[in-house]
């Protein structure tokens, strides 16, 4: 296992508000990591910095030894927490677009997953239900053979059946040598697939342990520990 992600004193201020406060973090390859924290804890900010969408106020982040840039964008597959695709495009056109830009994209796999869902490649995104649209977004990301998958709230706002689909898609399609970072506050739904968890609170890493360590040392499930740590 090698180091895939490293954050060094990573800080992000929005005006006077500190979103990330000198975070130091290391993530190794071959893991599924839960980035867990309440709303506004800094999860999305961290994810955006990893993807080069936000510039840190200070500190650095390295993906496979490189700061966010063109090279890291070929290695990181990112699922944002909001709808980011052009609604006028068809699923097939978006698959073609991903094939054009990402050398690691597997169009055949994406088409097969679409077919299993009964979504036609000719279907325009604007005509799909919210759940199906989110599934298409996930399919696009998981059809990449990336080094690091960063999924921001992939199971928020979808029904339990869709949640199961999302989780199984992640488990069945990610590159085993890669790592997957899943940001969520719906811990109970994903706990069984996680290797590690990172608790993030008020811009700081509150805890970074393997799921086994939590169970052995704390005698609790991740969900129980989360409720204890973030109790009001």
């Amino acid at each position: 296992m090698s180091e895939l992600l490293r954050c060094e004193h990573l800080t992000k201020n929005y005006g006077g508000v500190i979103a990330l406060n000198s975070i130091d973090l290391t993530v190794e390859s071959g893991k599924i990591i839960g980035l867990l924290g309440p709303n506004g804890s800094g999860k999305t900010t961290l994810i955006k910095i990893i993807n080069g969408l936000l510039t840190p106020t200070s500190g650095k982040v390295f993906i496979n030894g490189n700061e966010p840039g063109v090279l890291t964008k070929t290695q990181v597959a990112y699922l944002p927490d909001n709808s980011y695709l052009n609604n006028w495009m068809t699923a097939g056109q978006i698959i073609k677009m991903f094939s054009d830009f990402y050398a690691d994209f597997r169009p055949q796999l994406a088409l097969e997953m679409l077919e299993r869902l009964g979504i036609s490649p000719e279907a325009k995104l604007k005509n799909l239900s919210k759940g199906n649209k989110e599934k298409v977004c996930l399919i696009l990301v998981m059809s990449r053979n990336a080094l690091l998958y960063v999924l921001d709230e992939p199971i928020a706002g979808v029904d339990p059946a869709t949640r199961d689909y999302v989780i199984s898609t992640i488990i069945n399609n990610y590159n085993p040598e890669a790592s997957v970072i899943i940001s969520t506050h719906l811990i109970a739904d994903i706990e069984q697939v996680l290797d590690e968890v990172i608790f993030i609170n008020q811009g700081r890493v509150a805890l970074h342990k393997t799921v086994d360590e939590i169970r052995e040392e704390n005698g609790k499930s991740v969900d129980e520990l989360f409720r204890e740590v973030f109790k009001w």
């Binding site: 510039t55 063109v70 054009d100 830009f101």
Partner: protein, 271 residues
Amino acid sequence: MVRKLLKHETLAFGRSMLPMWVILLGMSVFARIVQFFESDSTVYDIVRGSAFTVFGISVAVCLVMTVVVCIKRFYVNMFTGEGYLTMTLPVTAEQHIFSKLLISVAGFVASIIVVLVALCITSLGEVLVEVFKAIGYLFDKMYQQIGFHSVVFIIEFIIILLVLAAYQMLLFYGCISVGQLARKNRVLAAFGAYFALYVIEQILGTIMVIFVSLQMNWLTSLFEKLELYAIKHPYVVAHGGIWIGIGLYVVIGAVFFFVSRYIIKNRLNLE
């Protein structure tokens, strides 16, 4: 990568502009058809007049829409929700700006061509033949008087149009990018940047006028020498002036290009 960006940019731009181009050409055909029939009817006169009015409005809308689509493509695709995809593509900032600039200028040229074709359609027949005859006559006269320079002037005129279109786009890109440095109200900040640049341009212009009106010896002497040279070689001076102007716009446009590139590469904050 630029080739792929150009392909997708063309698709998105064409999707926005194609309906407008079709409407404009359709309006020009309608405006031409209503001219075929003679009638004393007042209602028919109103229809004929309205057809031309709507056609005129369509021309204006087409040109304004081209500029709006160019600006919107840059802003929406780079700095709003779509930016989550655009900015995570393995593409450099300069490739993004360059591809958008190229398609914007090409789209601007396409809109002008569509407008010209539409104008030709509305005047199809004797009028159009007369217009082409007049243009041919003018060009002949020009060629007889100044020879090969007439061709060069036309080429320079086309280059000026292209450079000005690119410069204007880069100015918009620069202002939109500078607006992104603001914490809030980024669109307003972009307008602020545009206004500030306008004020700076006016101040620089005024300083130039004051500088020239001071009638400093060396400057007066330079102008006199230039005047004497222009009498002997008028076309060299004219071409030189045009190319200095083109060079100036290219340099300022390049500054806006690098300002946008710097902000997208080093100061991006998609919130």
